[in-house]
Every structure is written in C-alpha cells, then in structure tokens.
C-alpha cells in the first residue's frame, strides 16, 4: 500500500523539488534581479505574505471557471447530441461549433462586456466560449463511433432511437466526453482569467486575473508569479477532478480507467 502511494507521488514530487532547486540556484548565481525574475523562494514567500489576497482572488476565479465549465459540459453535450442526430444537421451547424474554437477571444471580450455588462456574467461567458468546443468535438466523435455490432444488436431487439441513445450511444461516448472535459477544464480557467482582464468588478480586489494585473502595475513581480502559480494549480485541480469523475464512472468497464 505504502509502496504504491510512494510510486505514485514520488516521481512528480522529486521532479518538482529538483526543478525548483535548480531554478533557485541558477537565479541566485546569475545577476538577474528579482524584479525581472524572482527566485522560487521569493515566490513562496509572496504566497505566504499575500495569502489572503491570493486566496480571495482564486476563489472568485474558481467560481467563474466552474460555472463556465459546467455550462460547457451541459451545452456541449446537448449540442453534440443534436449534431449527431443526422448528417444534414451536422453539415449545417458544425461550422458554428468550430467558430467557438477559432474565435479570438481577446478581440471579442470587450464586446461581451457591452452585451452582458461588467461582472460575473461576462467572465462566465468568456470561460464558456473558450472551453465548449473540445467537449462538442470529442463527444460528437464518441457518439458517432458507436460499435456497429452493438448498434445491430439494439436494432435486432427493436430498440427505439431514444433507447439506443440513452443506453448505448451516450455511455459509449463517455470516454471521449471525458477527454473533451479534461481539455476544457484548463481552458475554462484561462477563459475566466481573460474574462477578468476585461470585465472584473474589482473594488474588493477581484479575481486572480485582476490580482495579476494589479501586481504587474505595482511591480510586485514575485506576487505576479505567485498568482500565476495559483491559477495553474486551479487548472490542475480541475483536471484532477475530471480524472476522478472518469475513475468513478468508468472503472467497471473501460480499459483506460481500470488499470492504475
């Protein structure tokens, strides 16, 4: 038991400690001043000193990113089911799904502010826009690649379209949906931060994106890195949660989730 826990956690911990130490020593030996590139130890101190500010910021960003990711998961699956229903639909509407992937969000974010106003709504909208496409694309590919033998089996038993969808095609698309959700989880965090850059109501300090902006302007480069670290950790937590969901929903039957 302890051996397996060690085997799981030791490699990433060792690599993290090694890289951090190398960076610390490298920066310490070099002449690079900390207002250009702070040492890891200074970033850890900044995490401690600005802990309250950073925590408040990351919680707000977590709220926005969770809402954006949830909206992407629900609407993305609904869209994928609609697109998979027939060829005509797919040809007519799939290009719009691709549009969400290619839209230069930085350019349209100011417009979202004018449509939805300043505050959480716009931030969630940006998070949704950048994270929905991977869910649509992956779920659609899953829905369209159901094992033909199983479809024949359902047809032999005279199962209706809805029964086939609920009992066969959706469960069979679950692995692809989860792959989409994994990709979307990181994007939702990035989207929320971009949303905060343009729309955050930041009187009380704002989300982590605003903390980054303020720290840059105030030349607190150590705090910039601390905030970026927190944002990356949030993306990691989202990713880990999606993996956990995958483990629980598919451990009985899917090969990718049954082995350690």
């Amino acid at each position: 038991m302890i051996g397996s826990v060690l085997a799981a956690w030791l490699p990433p911990l060792l690599s993290f400690a090694g890289l951090t130490l190398a960076l610390e020593i490298g920066l310490w030996l070099s002449d690079i001043p900390s207002y250009l590139m702070p040492r890891p130890s200074e970033v850890f101190i900044a995490l401690h000193v600005h802990g309250a500010d950073l925590t408040r910021g990351i919680l707000r960003t977590t709220l926005a990113a969770s809402a954006g990711l949830s909206a992407s998961a629900i609407l993305g699956v609904v869209a994928a089911i609609a697109l998979s229903s027939n060829d005509w639909m797919r040809r007519a509407f799939y290009p719009y799904a691709v549009f969400f992937q290619t839209v230069p969000i930085i350019a349209i974010a100011p417009l979202l502010v004018i449509w939805f106003g300043y505050g959480l709504k716009t931030i969630i909208a940006v998070s949704f826009i950048v994270s929905v496409f991977p869910i649509v694309a992956n779920t659609l590919s899953g829905l369209l690649s159901t094992d033909p033998a199983l479809r024949d089996l359902f047809r032999l038993h005279q199962a209706g379209t809805l029964t086939t969808l609920v009992k066969l095609r959706i469960p069979a698309a679950l692995p692809q949906f989860l792959t989409g959700l994994r990709i979307a989880s990181g994007l939702a965090v990035i989207g929320a931060i971009v949303g905060e850059f343009v729309a955050d109501d930041y009187k009380d300090g704002g989300g982590i994106g605003t903390v980054v902006m303020v720290s840059i302007k105030e030349f607190k480069i150590d705090k910039v890195f601390a905030a970026v670290l927190m944002a990356s950790l949030l993306g990691l937590v989202f990713f880990a949660l999606v993996n956990l969901i995958g483990r629980f929903t598919m451990r009985r039957w899917h090969i990718a989730e049954t082995r350690e």
Partner: protein, 319 residues
C-alpha cells in the same frame, strides 16, 4: 533634416563603418546609437521627441536616437533596468515603485509638469465636484493605478462598480453612468468626436500630481556617460520647444506612424497639452523637476502602502 545629416546617419548605421562610430568619439561621424522606448503609440504626448528627431537635434548632439513606439503593456522600467534600451518614458509614480523593488533607475527629464490624467464623466450628469463622481455608477480604471487607492481612501468606492479600463472608450460612450480615467488630451477629444459631451475632473486638483512623460535611464548610464545624458536632454528640450511653437511637422510624422488617430485630433491634443508641458518654465528650464514635487509624491505613495522606502532625492537629476 538636411540631406547631409541623412547621409551621415546612413553611413554611421552601415556595419562596415560601425567601428568608426563608437560612442564617445567627438568627430561629426561619431553618432552614438541609442533608443528611446515610449509607453504608448505615437501621439502628441511624445511630440517633443519626434520634433527633436525631425529637427536633427539629436544628431547635432552626436546621437542617433531610435524612437520606439510602445503599448499599454510595455514594461518600460524593466526594459531600461535590464539594459535592453538606454532610455524610456514612464511616469513618476511607476518610477518610484520600480525603484522601491530594486531597479536603480533615474528620471532625467519631465515633459509633463502637470499630471494630465483625470476622471471623465458625461457632462449631462451635471456633476460639480470629484466627490459627486463616487455617488454611483461604474468607474473604469486600469487595475493597479496608484490613484485608485487615493480615490478609495478619500471618497470611498462602496457605491460604485470598479472595472478594468483597457483604453477602449466604447463602454463609456454607451453608458451615461460610466466614469473612466482619461488622458486630458486624448479620450475626451475622441468622446466629443463620437457625439458624447465629456466633463473631466483632473487628478492634480485633488493633490495627485506626479511628473509624467518622464525620461528614465539607469543610474549606471548616468554615472558612466554624463555627457551623453546631458546631450539627450538638451536635444529633447530643443524638440519640445519646437513642438510647443509649431506642432505640425512632428504631428505629420506621428500621424503617418499612427494613422488611426485623426490629423485634427493631433492638432487639438497639442493645444490642450501645451500649458501642462510649459508650466511656469522658460525655454531654458523646460523639463526640469523639483525635489519638493518628488517628496510629495513619495509621501503619498508611502501613505497608500505602495512603496516602503521613498528616496525621492535619488530618483531624479536635472542634467
């Protein structure tokens, strides 16, 4: 710029002759190649530098100065401190914060004697003082602007939404209850051209008046090449004198570089900014700074918790 000057400049830029163009050489061919990093796109706030270049004032002082346009996110202090560029433009509040974090930078010239920024509101609201701005609505300010802390301390922001301003005035134009920070010679003109009548409460009127349009360099440059720094300041002063007298030639150059700003707006902005640049100074003292002003600013930033050690004496020189 005379043709002779241009030829001399080209010769000097040619790699074959570069060895003959070392910096401290006194012959006419020996132009020191350097650069001035702006913190925004070419606009009248930089008129003096483009005028100096047009006049050949830099070359007459032995300098070949490349004026590099910037943007909202240009990390000018970091670029100068890292030695990527010799001279840069910033404001006094940013400089004191950068110095507090360990960047040994010094201001050598202040174009704006009066802080040109203010809070712009819709004139239709009929507000009579800065205090009334904070009775409600939305305020757009670049996150991290030091004066926001001052406004919060002096007026309280409880009744408003405070949102990021990103140099886009569309939200202001479409929301009559929106207030935003502005550069007196820029956004109000654009708003008026877009059909909205703006009213501006200047930040200097509530006591926030840092020098801006500040030329900075490393202390190392100042100590090792004092003649070069003085030469640059002389040329810049000559450029600003020329721009204040007749902004048209430099405006034409800047308009070519920044065609999104209308030629008429360049002319209008030059008129509005003139008293803020001239101040009480004469031709010989244009751009000079006083310790008293630097002290006041340092105390303000200390009070607001933005810097820990204010050393206004070391922050500037009048070469």
């Amino acid at each position: 710029m005379s043709i002779l000057h241009q030829i001399l400049g080209l010769l000097c830029l040619s790699p074959l002759l570069l060895t003959g163009c070392s910096s401290e050489d006194a012959s006419p061919l020996a132009l020191h190649k350097t650069a001035l990093q702006l913190n925004w796109v070419p606009e009248p706030e930089f008129g003096g530098y483009y005028a100096a270049s047009e006049l050949g004032a830099f070359m007459a002082e032995g300098l070949a100065v490349e004026i590099r346009p910037g943007g909202a996110q240009s990390p000018v202090e970091q670029m100068v401190a890292a030695g990527q560029v010799e001279f840069g433009i910033t404001s006094a509040d940013s400089l004191l914060m950068a110095r507090d974090r360990g960047a040994d930078l010094v201001a050598i010239y202040a174009a704006y004697q009066t802080f040109p920024e203010g809070i712009m509101v819709h004139a239709s609201r009929g507000l009579e003082s800065m205090a009334e701005v904070f009775q409600g609505g939305t305020l757009g300010v670049i996150p991290g602007s030091p004066f926001l802390k001052l406004l919060e301390r002096d007026y309280g922001l409880d009744k408003m939404k405070v949102v990021p301003h990103d140099n886009n005035i569309a939200p202001f134009l479409q929301d009559p209850k929106m207030a935003q920070q502005c550069f007196i010679s820029s956004e109000p003109i654009v708003a008026r051209h877009a059909g909205v009548d703006p009213q501006v409460f200047m930040l200097k009127d509530i006591g926030f008046n840092p020098y801006t349009g500040l030329i900075i360099t490393r202390r190392q440059t100042l100590e090792q090449h004092p003649a070069r720094v003085s030469a640059l300041v002389r040329a810049v002063r000559q450029g600003w004198r020329a721009y204040l007298a007749d902004p048209d030639p430099a405006n034409r150059v800047m308009h070519a570089l920044n065609p999104t700003m209308a030629a008429a707006t360049f002319a209008e902005a030059a008129i509005i900014q003139k008293p803020l640049i001239q101040g009480q100074l004469d031709d010989a003292t244009l751009g000079t700074m006083t310790l008293e002003r630097w002290r006041t600013l340092a105390e303000q930033l200390e009070d607001l918790g933005l810097i820990e050690r204010a050393e206004p004496e070391g922050a500037f020189v009048n070469p």
